[in-house]
């Protein structure tokens, strides 16, 4: 059993133990701590060994024909996402508050742990089937948490909405994956092993036309899961309704599954398929950046604004992916990491504001910086990270992606035009973030109540996330060292 197997199984075991009557919060915290440490060990090992190859391989053959293997391994890209998952999981468990409505919070912590385990499994699976199944494992508790522990009167309706929405997305994706399995398996030896499905360089068994039509369901399926425009409208209401740790885990970690899938499965297996849809993807990602960006500006509630901002930033990651070079893909993975941490941080802070205030309507708040300085300062860090200020990893990833699009671009192609348009998003995101910040924390105090500052128990995770963003922003090579030649490797 490798350390990766451990990382995946620890949260599952902890969930089982809670189900059997163990103390929910203690077990969840213990599992989160253990995973955080193990995740760091994995990361450091990968830094030492290099991220180009798969490490920590393990496999159990379940079926021989078709070949179905429960197997895990990590390379640089998976390693970064594993690190992201353990960090966000740790912080999400830490910020989970005592007031859980019904019962002892058993279901609550079990769900959190299963989401984490599902995400980790999906990021490390070497087998197409388990790649998909682990993601489903993570989605189900997400729906439950929103429906049961969510905020607002419409939580059940919202839970339904995303269940159907993401369910449809998953099924479309499934169709694409099955088509991949059928068409790419070596003759006579059907297999789900991603590595064995990958075409050998230079000779692709499928014609460009076939690739094109298999790529489409993958793009739409992954796209729905990542809230690619115009399939994005589930995201903001879901995050607003979700309990804080679930919003952190889903927006921060689980949503990266679709992007990871694009890089791990769709792009390497169907390179010509992507070429056919490149123009469409560029239009859609501009929809994320520009259209959703404007929608974000018009939001009246802080939680919805943050949710929409997360949707908007997905556009940049897709842009990195569309560059089809190692700079762009490295930048995309770095941005998955940076965005994952910063959005989790924003949701954590937004959650504590929700606990303290009667409303999150931006125009009805004001001047809170005076009475909650710690929260105001940390929110300021989060806001500036989110809008890509140098010093934070978000900036490093954005600039990498922009440079990637112009690599060897003597003339303006569609990619370059799209990138120039996408650049406008840095203005848009500054508008909504600073507007909200100015309205909520600055200016004269609105209302008579002086809400309390951030609780002590919240401070460790919040500071941890800020430190990580700064550390990887000052030294982005910490992450990028694992992803030097992603395009060539994949």
């Amino acid at each position: 059993m490798t350390i990766i197997d451990l990382i995946i199984i620890i949260p599952i075991l902890a969930a089982v133990a809670i189900g059997c009557g163990g103390s929910a919060r203690v077990l969840a915290l213990a599992a989160a701590w253990a995973n955080l440490l193990l995740g760091l060990v994995v990361f450091v090992t990968l830094v030492a060994k290099g991220g180009d190859e798969m490490h920590f391989k393990s496999s159990w053959v379940l079926l021989h024909s078709p070949e179905l293997t429960l197997g895990f391994a990590v390379d640089g890209m998976s390693g970064v996402l594993v690190l992201l998952t353990v960090i966000v999981t740790f912080c999400a468990v830490r910020v989970s508050s005592g007031d859980l409505g019904k019962g002892s919070g058993k279901l609550y912590y079990i769900s959190l742990l299963l989401i984490a385990a599902g995400a980790l499994g999906a990021f490390c699976a070497t087998d197409l089937f388990f790649f998909y199944a682990f993601h489903e494992l993570a989605l189900i508790p997400t729906f439950l948490m929103i429906g049961i522990y969510g905020n607002g009167r419409e939580k059940v309706a919202t839970a339904w909405k995303i269940t159907i929405y993401l369910g449809v997305g998953s099924l479309i994706l499934l169709g694409g994956l099955i088509a991949l399995y059928v068409s790419l398996s070596p003759p006579g030896a059907p297999t789900f092993d991603i590595a064995k499905l990958a075409p050998s360089p230079g000779e692709h068994p499928l014609s460009a036309e076939v690739q094109k039509w298999i790529f489409l369901p993958l793009l739409v399926g992954f796209g729905i899961l990542v809230s690619l425009f115009p399939f994005h409208s589930w995201a903001a209401p879901a995050y607003a309704a979700a309990p804080t740790p679930v919003a952190m885990l889903h927006a921060g970690v689980l949503k990266k599954f679709g992007l990871y899938g694009m890089l791990r499965v769709a792009m390497p297996l169907l390179p010509e398929g992507f070429e056919a849809w490149k123009g469409l993807l560029l239009v859609l990602l501009l929809g994320n950046i520009l259209y959703v960006g404007l929608v974000t500006i018009s939001q009246r509630y802080l939680d919805r604004m943050i949710g929409n901002s997360s949707v908007m930033h997905m556009g940049y990651i897709f842009l990195g992916i569309a560059c089809c070079n190692s700079i762009g893909w490295g930048g995309a993975v770095l941005m998955m990491f940076a965005h994952g941490i910063s959005i989790a941080l924003l949701f954590a802070l937004c959650g504590s504001l929700r606990e303290r205030l009667d409303t999150l309507e931006i125009s009805r708040l004001g001047g809170l910086g005076g009475s909650m300085p710690f929260l105001a300062v940390t929110f300021g860090f989060a806001a500036f990270a989110s809008i890509g200020l140098p010093g934070f990893a978000n900036f490093a990833s954005e600039i990498t992606i922009f440079f990637a699009a112009f690599k060897d671009a003597g003339e303006m192609g569609i990619l370059q035009v799209a990138t120039i348009l996408a650049l406008w998003g840095v203005v848009i995101s500054a508008v909504y973030m600073l507007r909200a910040y100015r309205s909520i924390f600055q200016g004269e105090l609105i209302g008579e109540r002086y809400p309390a500052d951030l609780a002590q128990s919240m401070r460790l995770p919040v500071v941890l996330m800020i430190v990580i963003l700064l550390l990887t922003g000052f030294f982005p090579n910490i992450i990028l060292k694992l992803l030097p030649n992603l395009f060539e490797v994949l």
């Binding site: 189900i140 049961i148 690599k407 370059q416 500054a430 100015r438 090579n477």
Partner: protein
């Protein structure tokens, strides 16, 4: 670690240690910040004597063949600029010890100043566009923090937000320009680009576009028309901040950047022409607006805009074709020379204004002041020296640098005329300000009770006044620009300019002597050509309008039709979903999951 790296990093260390450790001890925080500024200044003295060349590098980001470096480059102009930054920076730090003595957010203020020093040094020392852009943005954020220092005041909070956003619009262009250049040449280092442009030819329209985009960055940072609107509002910040950031250094960063890429301006004549005209327009419009303001800091802010316009115009002339040949680096040297002298006298004027405001219990309206020369002679006399330098009276520093700028404009008569009109207006509005504030009778109780400011604040004034007097002499600038590399005016230009300056001063004095309000009121100038109102209107119509429209589309079309529609379809058809009419959510979701697994299993087996 080289001296230059220490100059760069020391203020960051100071800012971080205040934020992380000693922020509760306000005085200690202030001293740490002042000490770091002092050490940086001393190190700068060492640096500018040393030899040039590379000062060290650190690979900040590398992936897939892209390498972005934090690497320092020390050239002649860098030396001049780093001296301005650390010297004016140090004086402003010291002045702030007095000005911000009792401020509740003192530690935060000094941390902000140190952060600014770090960011500004980064711009000055950068050897490539990526690093410059990084610090370009950081300067923006430190300016944001300092303008919004009194963040509980609505106007300050609005002003800081506006400054940041307007700057971001400029940065958008800047980044686009950097990318265009990089795409075409594969280089982002200044010297590498210069060499590449020498040996290879590129599509001139691409270079023009790239240069125009890069210039957008300068338009934002140096507050040129049409992005000038943030600078007057930025006066909401504490006055020493206005002196350092919004007069001497940060707003000059745009001009500095343009002088660094002079070789590019020479290669892009269309862009050069755009630069000249934007600069000239800014110089003229801002000077017009300055004549009708009544807030002492706003007058100085418009004056800064106008002088920055001069500098930008001069730098733009580098690409101006004069009988077939570009005017070249002489022009950008003239712009930089004016930047250098302006830093001294404008910082002096702002700190002087700060002293006046401090003495008059935070009164900023000049029509409530008067007769202050008797009550605060040191402040008044140094302020008058600064005024004379700004008006371009010989032999003060402004005379020499304005001569250099105007000598460049002699290549193009229309711009020469614009420059001359601006020179007259400059002398006029400064004379108006001085006449009202320092002479005549006091117009309010606050002005009657004013007294001289403490030594901590007087000393920087005196030192800067000395700078304003001597900075234009060869011994004060010759070590970074050889006098031969500066343009020399033809004919009687210096004499004409002197007469224009004197005429402006006399007119301003005669018109405003003993008045209680402006004798001539031009509504359109008072209202700043209604540009702010126009922008507000634009923002409302486009930004908000589009945003609300987008939201409506979102809810109606995408959510309403596509999602709900397909959802209904699914619900109607699906066996899975039919059992969901009653019962609880948990069971349904569980069933849903089971269903998916079964489907996968069946398909797998069937296909296998």
């Amino acid at each position: 670690m080289s001296i230059a790296f220490i100059i760069l990093l020391l203020p960051l260390v100071a800012a971080a240690s205040i934020l992380l450790g000693i922020r509760k001890k306000a005085n200690l925080s202030a001293y740490v910040s002042v000490a770091s500024a002092g050490i940086c200044f001393l190190l700068t003295l060492g640096l500018i004597r040393g030899s040039g060349g590379e000062a060290g590098a650190f690979t900040w980001l590398s992936v897939g063949g892209l390498e972005l470096k934090i690497a320092l480059e020390i050239t002649g102009l860098t030396r001049g600029m780093i001296l301005v930054v650390t010297l004016v920076g140090l004086l402003v730090h010291i002045f702030s010890l007095g000005y911000m003595r009792d401020d509740a957010g003192k530690a935060r203020y000094f941390a902000g100043l140190s952060l600014f020093m770090f960011s500004m040094s980064g711009i000055v020392l950068a050897d490539n566009f990526a690093m410059m852009f990084i610090f370009w943005e950081l300067v923006g954020v430190s300016s944001y923090l300092l303008i919004g220092h009194w963040f509980q005041k609505n106007s300050a909070a609005e002003a800081s937000k506006k400054a940041f956003l307007v700057n971001r619009i400029g940065d958008f262009g800047f980044m686009a320009g950097i990318l265009l250049l990089w795409g075409a040449t594969g280089e982002i280092g200044f010297s590498a680009l210069r060499e590449t442009l020498e040996v290879q030819t590129f599509d001139p329209s691409l270079l023009n576009w790239a240069m125009i985009c890069i210039f957008c960055g300068a338009v934002g940072k140096s507050a040129q028309v049409p992005l000038h609107v943030w600078l007057p509002d930025a006066m909401e910040g504490p006055t020493p901040v206005s002196a350092l950031i919004h007069a001497a250094t940060m707003v000059a960063a745009g001009v500095f950047m343009l002088t660094k890429v002079t070789f590019l301006i020479i290669a892009a004549p269309v862009a050069a022409s755009v630069i000249q005209h934007v600069g000239a327009l800014t110089a003229l419009l801002a000077a017009l607006m300055a004549t009708q303001q009544s807030d002492i800091k706003k007058i100085l802010a418009y004056s800064t805009l106008s002088q920055l316009g001069y500098m930008v115009m001069a730098v733009g002339f580098a690409g101006f074709l004069h009988s077939g040949e570009a005017v070249g680096a002489v022009a950008s040297n003239a712009g930089f020379f004016h930047l250098y002298t302006h830093a001294f006298f404008k910082a002096l004027l702002f700190l002087g204004a700060g002293a006046v405001i401090y003495a008059c219990h935070h009164e900023q309206d000049i029509w409530k002041m008067g007769g202050l020369i008797r009550l605060m002679p040191v402040t008044a006399i140094t302020f008058l020296i600064g005024t004379a330098a700004l008006a371009g009276l010989p032999p003060l520093s402004g005379f020499w640098s304005k001569d250099a700028v105007m000598a460049v404009t002699q290549n193009s008569t229309p711009l020469l005329i614009v420059g001359a009109i601006t020179a007259f207006l400059t002398a006029f509005y400064m004379s108006r300000l001085c006449t009202i504030v320092f002479f005549g009778k006091a117009r309010s109780q606050a002005a009657r009770e004013a007294g001289e400011v403490p030594l901590m604040m007087r000393a920087p004034l005196v030192i800067l006044a000395l700078g304003a007097v001597i900075a234009g002499f060869e011994f004060a600038y010759g070590w970074f620009i050889a006098p031969a590399d500066l343009p020399h005016p033809h004919g009687a230009l210096p004499l004409v300019l002197t007469i224009i300056g004197v005429a402006g001063i006399v007119t301003g004095y005669l018109l405003h002597r003993g008045r209680e309000k402006d004798p001539i009121r031009v509504e359109v100038l008072v209202r700043k050509f209604y540009i702010d109102e126009f922008y507000l209107f634009l923002v409302r119509v486009f930004q908000d309008g589009v945003a609300y429209l987008a939201k409506a589309v979102d809810q109606l079309l995408i959510d309403g039709l596509i999602v709900r529609g397909s959802a209904r379809l699914t619900v109607g058809v699906g066996l899975l979903l039919r059992g969901l009419q009653g019962g609880n959510l948990q069971r349904h979701v569980f069933l849903f999951g089971v269903g998916i697994v079964i489907v996968i299993y069946l398909i797998t087996i069937a296909l296998g």
